[in-house]
Amino acid sequence: MAEISPMRTDRPALHRRLGLRLAALRRGDLWHSFRSHPSAIFAACLLALVALSALLAPLITPQDPYDLAALELWNAEIPPIWTPQGQAPYLLGTDTQGRDILSAILYGSRISLVIGFASVLVALAVGLTLGLIAGYFGGWIDNVIMRVGDVLLSMPFILIAILISAMASAALPTGLKEVLAAPILIVAIAVPSWVQYARTIRASAMVERKKEYVQAARLIRVKAWRIMLHHILPNCLTPIMVAATLNFGLAILSEATLSFLGVGMPPDQPSLGTLIRVGNQYLFSGLWWIVVFPAIQLCLIVLSVNMIGDWLRDALNPKLR
C-alpha cells in the first residue's frame, strides 16, 4: 500500500476529505428528499419486495418451475385460486404444462433482475475502465476507444442487442446455448451501454489530467491513476448514479423485449419476457392468467426502478426540479 502514503499529507488527501464531506452532505439531502417523496418511497418498497421475493423464490414457491420432472400435465391450466376452479397451492394458477404461475413469475423476476443488474455492472466496469484509460492516456488509445464508442452509438441499441444474442445462439451448440443464455443476454445488453459511462468519466479524467498533482505524481513515478480515481469518481458519481439507475430499468426492458422476440431466455428457463411470449399464444383461449400476471409484474418492476431513477435525477440535479 505504498501508493497511499503521499495522499496522507498533500493536496489530494485534502480533496478526498472534502469530497467525502460533500458526499455525506449530499446523502443527508438525499435522505430528506427521499422521505418527502411518497412516490419514491412507494417505488423503493415495491422494488425491495420484488427483489426479496425473487431472491427467496426457492424457499417460498411451491414448485421449481425449471425442474421438468416436477411438472405434472394433470395440473395444467388451473385458473387463479379465487376463481371457482382454482386449486391450492396454485395462487395465480398454472400454465399449459402445469407450471405454477406464481413460481414462474418469481423465478422469472429473478432472471430479469439478475440480467438487468449484471448488465449494468458489466457496462459500468467496462465503461469506467475504458473511459479512464482514454482520458488518462489520450492520443491514439483515446481515439480508438472513442471511435469504437461512436460506432456503437451509431447503431440502435436494440439492434445491437438482438444481433449479439441471435448470433451467439446461432453459433453455439444446443447444450451450451441453454447454459449460456443468461450470460449472453448480459453481454448483449452491456455492449451498447458502456459508451455513456466511458464518455462521462473520460471528460472528467481529461480535466484532472492537466492538474498539477497528476503531473507531479507522474514525475515521481507514483501510480497517478489511483489518485485520479479518487478525484474523478466523486465528480462523476452523480450523473453515473442516475444513468445507472435509469439504465437498470432499460436493461430489464431490453431483456424482456429480446425474450419476447424469441432471442432471449428459452422457454424452459423463462424470464418474464419469455412468459409473456408464450402466454401471448393463449390470449383468446380464456387462459388470461398466463400472460396477464407476468406482464403486470414486469411493468411494476420497471416502473419502480424508473420512479427511483427519476427521483434521483431530480434530487441530484436541482436545475431540473
Binding site: 425442474d67 421438468l68 400435465l73 404444462q97 428459452p266 390470449l283 383468446f284
Partner: protein, 523 residues
C-alpha cells in the same frame, strides 16, 4: 363420362349465379408463408399445396380424394410394363396464353428430377420422358411401379417456352447469386393466376377466366396473408380481417365456436405424429448411443402417457395412434394400432436392462413452426422422460433451422409428422422414412437405421402391381417397424379450419389441404 358432364353442368350453373355479383375475395390467413412461387426450388408441401391453385399436374385428386384426369385426358401402361403413355388434354393454355403441349410436360419432368431439385424424391421411380407427338408423352420408370399417378398429382407442369425465355429450365440455384425468375413469377394452367407477391406479407391470386375446367368455385380473388402468431390469427378472424384460416389453434376453438359469425371445420388429419430415434454409434454429445438397444427405445415409449397428451395438450381433439399410418391409408390394419400404455416403473426397469446411465442427456429436436401444438407436446414428453430419470435437452426452433441438424444427424431424438402425401398409401412412409438410406429411398431416415429384411419387404411392395399382395407386403413391413419400435407413434393430429359467415362453402379435406376451387364466398 356422362356423370362427369352432369357434374360440370351443375357447376357451371353455380358459377353463373355468382357472376352478376360484386367481386368475391377469399382472405386467407395462413400460419406461415409459402417459401417461393417456384414449387421445384422449395421442397415443402404447404408451398406445393398453395401453388396447386396456379400450377396443375397431369392428374389430380377430386373432391373425394380419388385420382381423376387433369392435364392428361387419359393414359395407359405400355407392354414393357415400365413405360406409361399419357394423352394430353386439348385446348389448355397457360396464363400467358401459350398452348399446353407435350414439350411442356417433358421439360417440367426434367426440371423436377434435376440433381439440384429438392423435390426429386417425390418422383422416385422416374427415369426419363419423351415426346411422342405434340399431345402424347411417354414416361419411363425404373421398374414396375404402382403409384406413379399418385406421385404425379403433385408434379406441377410449367410452360417450356416461358422457362426458356426466362432462363429457368433448372431449379433456382441460390449459390449462383442470382434470383430465379420463377421464384417470384408464376405461369401455370390452374384456376388462379398470381397477381402480386410480397414475401411474408401478401400474395394475391386472381381467377383465371380461361381455365380449361368449369369452375365449381365463385372466387375472384384470393389474398394469402401469413399471420404467424396464433392469437393474432384468431383476432383477425373474429374481427373479419381474414375470412378463412387453415390453422385455427386448438386451444382457441371454443372461443371461435362461440362467435356467431365464425364456423369451425374440424377433423382428424391423416398426418401421424411420431418420435424418431438415432441409430448411430454416438449421440450428438459424443456419448455412446443407448437407443440402438430396443429396450431403451421401449423405455421411452412406455414413459409417455399418450392419453394425458391427448386430453390436455391436444384438448381431446387428436386420435391416439399405435400404428405409423392413419386408418384411412391403404396398408393400415387395426391389429397394428395398439398402444402399450404408460408405465413409468416398467420404463425404468427397461432403462436398467438396456444399461442406460442415470440422468442420460440427449437432444430432443422439435419445430416451433411444425405440427399442431408441437412445442407443448414436446415439453410435456420431455417432462415425462425426466420423470424416469433421463435429462432430455429440448431444442425448439423453426423448421429451416432444425432441418439441417436433422438431415446431417447432428441431433438425437426428433419429431416427425407424416401424412403419406401425395401418395396416400403406406408405401410412402415405408419408402421415405423406414427404408435404408440408399438412392431415392430413406430420404427421411434421419436416424440412420438399416434393416435388410425390412428393405426387402418394402422393395417387393414397390414393384408389386397386384394391390392385395402389395398391401399385404406393406402390412408385414409396418409390423416389423412396430415390433422394432423404430419410431414411436403418438397421434393423428387434429385439423381445424375456420371461416367467417362470408365463406358459404369450404370443403375440409382429410389431407388438410385447402382446395379453394371447391369453395364459395358470399357476395
Amino acid at each position: 363420362m356422362t356423370f362427369r358432364k352432369i357434374l360440370l353442368a351443375s357447376a357451371a350453373l353455380t358459377a353463373l349465379s355468382g357472376m352478376a355479383q360484386a367481386e368475391t375475395v377469399l382472405k386467407w390467413g395462413a400460419n406461415r408463408d409459402i417459401g417461393s412461387l417456384d414449387p421445384y426450388s422449395y421442397g415443402d408441401s404447404f408451398t406445393i399445396n398453395v401453388l396447386n391453385h396456379v400450377y396443375e399436374g397431369l392428374v389430380r385428386y377430386n373432391a373425394d380424394l380419388k385420382i381423376e384426369p387433369a392435364l392428361a385426358a387419359s393414359w395407359e401402361i405400355l407392354e414393357d410394363k415400365v413405360t406409361w403413355r399419357f394423352h394430353l388434354r386439348e385446348g389448355v393454355t397457360f396464363h400467358n396464353g401459350n398452348p399446353f403441349t407435350a414439350e411442356d410436360v417433358v421439360a417440367s419432368l426434367e426440371r423436377v428430377s434435376d440433381e439440384t431439385s429438392p423435390l426429386k424424391g417425390n418422383l422416385p421411380a422416374y427415369v426419363s420422358s419423351a415426346v411422342v407427338d405434340p399431345m402424347t408423352v411417354d414416361i419411363t420408370l425404373n421398374g414396375t411401379y404402382p403409384l406413379l399417378l399418385n406421385d404425379l398429382t403433385n408434379i406441377h407442369i410449367f410452360d417450356r417456352e416461358w422457362m426458356v425465355e426466362h432462363d429457368s429450365l433448372l431449379p433456382t440455384d441460390i449459390g449462383s447469386g442470382t434470383e430465379g425468375y420463377a421464384t417470384y413469377n408464376a405461369n401455370g394452367t390452374g384456376p388462379f393466376s398470381v397477381e402480386s407477391r410480397q414475401p411474408d406479407a401478401k400474395t394475391v391470386f386472381v381467377v383465371n377466366p380461361d381455365w380449361w375446367d368449369v369452375p365449381q368455385h365463385n372466387i375472384d380473388r384470393i389474398e394469402l396473408t401469413p399471420v404467424t402468431s396464433a392469437a393474432t390469427r384468431v383476432a383477425a378472424l373474429l374481427s373479419g380481417e381474414i375470412n378463412f384460416t387453415n390453422d385455427a389453434p386448438v386451444q382457441d376453438l371454443p372461443r371461435l365456436e362461440a362467435s356467431p359469425d365464425v364456423n369451425v371445420l374440424e377433423g382428424v388429419d391423416l398426418r401421424t405424429v411420431m418420435i424418431g430415434f438415432p441409430f448411430r454409434d454416438t449421440l450428438a454429445s459424443g456419448e455412446p448411443n443407448p437407443f440402438k438397444e430396443r429396450a431403451a427405445r421401449e423405455a421411452l415409449y412406455r414413459a409417455i402417457d399418450l392419453d394425458l397428451i391427448q386430453q390436455k395438450v391436444m384438448r381431446g381433439k387428436s386420435r391416439t395412434a399405435g400404428a405409423t399410418v392413419a386408418p384411412p391409408i391403404p396398408g393400415y390394419s387395426e391389429d397394428l394400432d395398439t398402444v402399450p400404455g404408460a408405465d413409468p416403473e416398467a420404463a425404468k426397469a427397461l432403462l436398467a436392462e438396456a444399461g442406460v446411465p442415470e440422468g442420460l442427456e440427449f437432444e430432443f429436436n422439435c419445430l416451433s413452426d411444425g405440427l399442431v401444438n408441437e412445442e407443448q407436446f414436446c415439453q410435456a414428453i420431455a417432462a415425462m422422460w425426466s420423470r424416469i430419470g433421463l435429462s432430455p435437452k429440448l431444442d425448439v426452433a423453426p423448421r429451416a433451422v432444425q432441418t439441417p441438424k436433422r438431415t446431417q444427424g447432428k441431433t438425437d431424438v426428433y419429431t416427425l409428422g407424416w401424412a403419406t402425401l401425395p401418395m396416400l398409401d403406406a408405401y410412402s412412409p415405408l419408402l421415405q422414412i423406414f427404408h435404408s438410406k440408399v438412392g431415392n429411398s430413406g430420404v427421411f431416415n434421419w436416424g440412420g437405421w438399416s434393416y435388410p429384411e425390412l428393405d426387402a419387404l418394402i422393395d417387393a411392395a414397390g414393384s408389386e402391381l397386384d394391390t392385395e399382395t402389395r398391401l399385404d407386403l406393406e402390412n408385414q413391413a409396418l409390423r416389423m417397424v412396430k415390433d422394432e419400435i423404430i419410431m414411436i407413434p403418438l397421434h393423428q393430429q387434429p385439423m381445424a379450419w375456420a371461416v367467417t359467415g362470408e365463406v358459404t362453402e369450404m370443403p375440409l379435406f382429410p389431407d388438410n389441404k385447402p382446395r379453394l376451387w371447391y369453395a364459395q364466398v358470399a357476395e
